[in-house]
């Protein structure tokens, strides 16, 4: 990743501004994600602190095979899981909320007629032609929409689509099968897309 490399070099060289940039970019997301693994804010704070310490200490060893972001989030997931296991009263994640069922329809059935056609055409999302990303306005809504997802869906979409971890490692991190992880991801993505569509059409 070209942008990453310059930042990595600066981080290795002791450039404080570079580290401040990294913290500003990811600290809040790391904190939210940590909170889905452990039971209290205080524990999440510790997990994130450990993560940043590991980043500071480990940046020389970072091989740049993944993006800096993915590397960062991988460290967080490891720290969070270790911490969750160590906490004597930690309840295994899968029993905090019922795991997503693999059976049953994964899309909102009311969007379709009984013969499986669209009731109304799906909403068109505003896209910036230069970047091929959602418009600034919709991107602004995106984080909020993700925050309102059920916890397991939020975890999976953060890990897969925000942090860039791959399917098998996310399945492992959550203690579910790869297939189940994919079902959760599907539900999360379609929920987010539908929420943005609702927003666009209400405007």
């Amino acid at each position: 990743m070209p942008d990453d490399h310059a930042l990595v070099e600066r981080l290795r060289a002791g450039d404080e501004a570079a580290f401040a940039e990294l913290v500003d970019r990811y600290d809040r997301q790391l904190r939210r994600l940590a909170r889905t693994f452990v039971r209290t804010d205080a524990l999440a704070d510790e997990v994130v602190q450990d993560t940043w310490l590991a980043v500071i200490g480990g940046i020389d060893r970072f091989e740049e095979r993944s993006s800096l972001k993915t590397w960062l989030f991988r460290i967080l997931v490891n720290r969070a899981r270790t911490r969750a296991v160590r906490e004597a009263r930690q309840v295994p994640f899968s029993s905090l909320s019922s795991p997503e069922e693999q059976e049953g329809p994964m899309v909102d059935p009311s969007a379709f007629t009984s013969s499986g056609d669209w009731r109304t055409p799906p909403a068109q999302l505003d896209v910036e032609p230069e970047t091929r990303l959602l418009s600034r306005e919709l991107r602004g809504r995106l984080a909020e929409v993700v925050e309102h997802l059920p916890e397991q869906q939020r975890q999976v979409i953060l890990l897969r689509d925000v942090a860039g971890l791959d399917g098998p490692e996310v399945a492992e991190a959550l203690g579910v099968s790869e297939g189940n992880q994919r079902v959760i991801l599907h539900r999360a993505r379609t929920k987010v897309r539908d929420a943005l569509g609702t927003y666009v059409e209400a405007a």
């Binding site: 404080e16 200490g57 899309v107 669209w118 799906p122 995106l142 925000v162």
Partner: protein, 84 residues
Amino acid sequence: MGFLRRHLLTCRDCVELVTEYEEDALDDRGRRRVERHLKICRECTEYVDGLRVTVRSLDALPPEPAEPEVRERLLALYREQRGA
């Protein structure tokens, strides 16, 4: 999934399969069915395009600056260990 035995996918089927499709988790037959449906269905194509741009955009979320106390504390740690 019984609906896979039908020859043609409905829109609902197609949307249900789209993540598996994107993840290359469908067999050849399933993949061809989804592709054939998307080729002829403007609405599903719109839906899937919307999903894709959403996923791309999740990779590029606008950053929210860290809490000032948190940033200061972490910068102090960084300075201590790596300060130039």
